[in-house]
């Protein structure tokens, strides 16, 4: 069996939170030396490659999308449950078909509510390179996004080297005080990439 060139990192997600069908869907894949963001319209696919050596920053920001969806779903659930209770306890008893109809309607709204909460907090992921800041719509749940980050971090570190948080803060302070907003001229030195023959080091991709 031929070796898979790409490994799936996230399942396809729609670019828009309220879009269900007929819109571009996006997914994230792990390649040998890059991340592949696939935008699919169903009949065409558009690819964006983010090479590990070029990735500067990955940012995850928590959002209130889950709370908003909960609010949107709670209203019809309350209405359906009220209808169900009314048909169950009203005298004389209504036909079974009415009760079943209300129960089905309730389930239709309760299922996505449960799913929305089981999938955990929502977030938005951004990836920054030297020339762009790209939103990654498939990183829309914090748990999944952090798993993806854990998975790709060793590959990026293998190419670029490590970076202690204190060093970053020092460089940021230097950048904030420099007139052009860069820390290129600062005296802080970067840690070298880990040696390829270190057993604990991730594989170096050439």
């Amino acid at each position: 069996m031929p070796e898979q060139e790409y490994q799936r990192l996230t399942r396809t997600r729609s670019r828009s939170a309220f879009a269900v069908a007929f819109v571009s869907r996006t997914s994230l894949w792990l390649g040998k030396d890059h991340l592949l963001c696939v935008d699919s319209s169903g009949y065409t696919e558009t690819y964006k490659r983010f090479y590990f050596r070029d990735i500067q920053v990955i940012t995850l920001v928590t959002t209130k999308r889950r709370t908003v969806w909960n609010g949107v779903l709670v209203v019809p659930i309350v209405i359906c449950l009220a209808g169900l209770a009314n048909s169950l306890f009203s005298l004389p008893r209504e036909a079974g078909a009415v009760i079943v109809t209300w129960a089905i309607f309730s389930a239709v709204f309760i299922a996505p509510l449960l799913l929305n909460n089981l999938m955990g907090p929502t977030c938005t992921g951004y990836l920054r390179t030297a020339v762009q800041i790209e939103e990654l719509p498939s990183l829309n749940r914090l748990r999944r996004a952090r798993k993806v980050l854990e998975r790709i971090r060793p590959f990026i570190i293998a190419v670029q080297g490590g970076f202690p948080p204190e060093e970053i803060s020092a460089r940021m302070r230097a950048a904030a005080t420099s007139p052009d907003g860069t820390a290129m001229g600062s005296s802080v030195t970067l840690s070298p990439p880990p040696a390829a023959d270190t057993p604990a080091a991730p594989p170096v991709i050439s």
């Binding site: 964006k48 920054r128 970053i168 860069t182």
Partner: protein, 199 residues
Amino acid sequence: MNTLIQCPQCQAWLLEGVFNQPELSPCPACGVPLQVEVFPALFRRINPGQSGETLLIEGESSCFYHPQKKAVLPCQGCGRFLCALCDCELNGQHFCPACLEAGKTKGKIKNLENQRTLYDSAALALVVVPLIPPLTFIGIYTTVITAPMAVFVAIRYWNAPRSLVHRTKIRFVAAIILALLQIAGWGLLFINLAGHHRS
């Protein structure tokens, strides 16, 4: 783009305390929990492009595109000598601009491909979409055209490059099977109608 990082929510500059932390940290300005993973590429100096060295010695190898410039290496696509200006580096390989363009348009350099048509999905859609419930009443009649079209698309593009990330031909196979079933259904219907007409 400078090296400073902004909070995506409030656009405030992030200076310390939030970088490469194991857990989410609040933005110092707006308080929204965020995780910022910074990599050394952020502080890497971008090398300026080279213009190519002028040829000084008679008989020295010159660039194919700029005869007055000194050749530094051959194109790995066509073998032509290139100066530093014409050298386009891609994943450790060196190409001339013409080979790079040809590689992109003809799909010869896979890493330059940024779009693909999914003929397998199109073939499958031709047989499935007409049968989706809201369209069924009208769609069922259109299958007399769409089913042969699906077979044609599946056979014509059987060897065409598929998605970069889905490797199987299962959609083509499913499209052909469903299309043949639809064609067989229409065939049986026409045979029955012809039989009734004769009797």
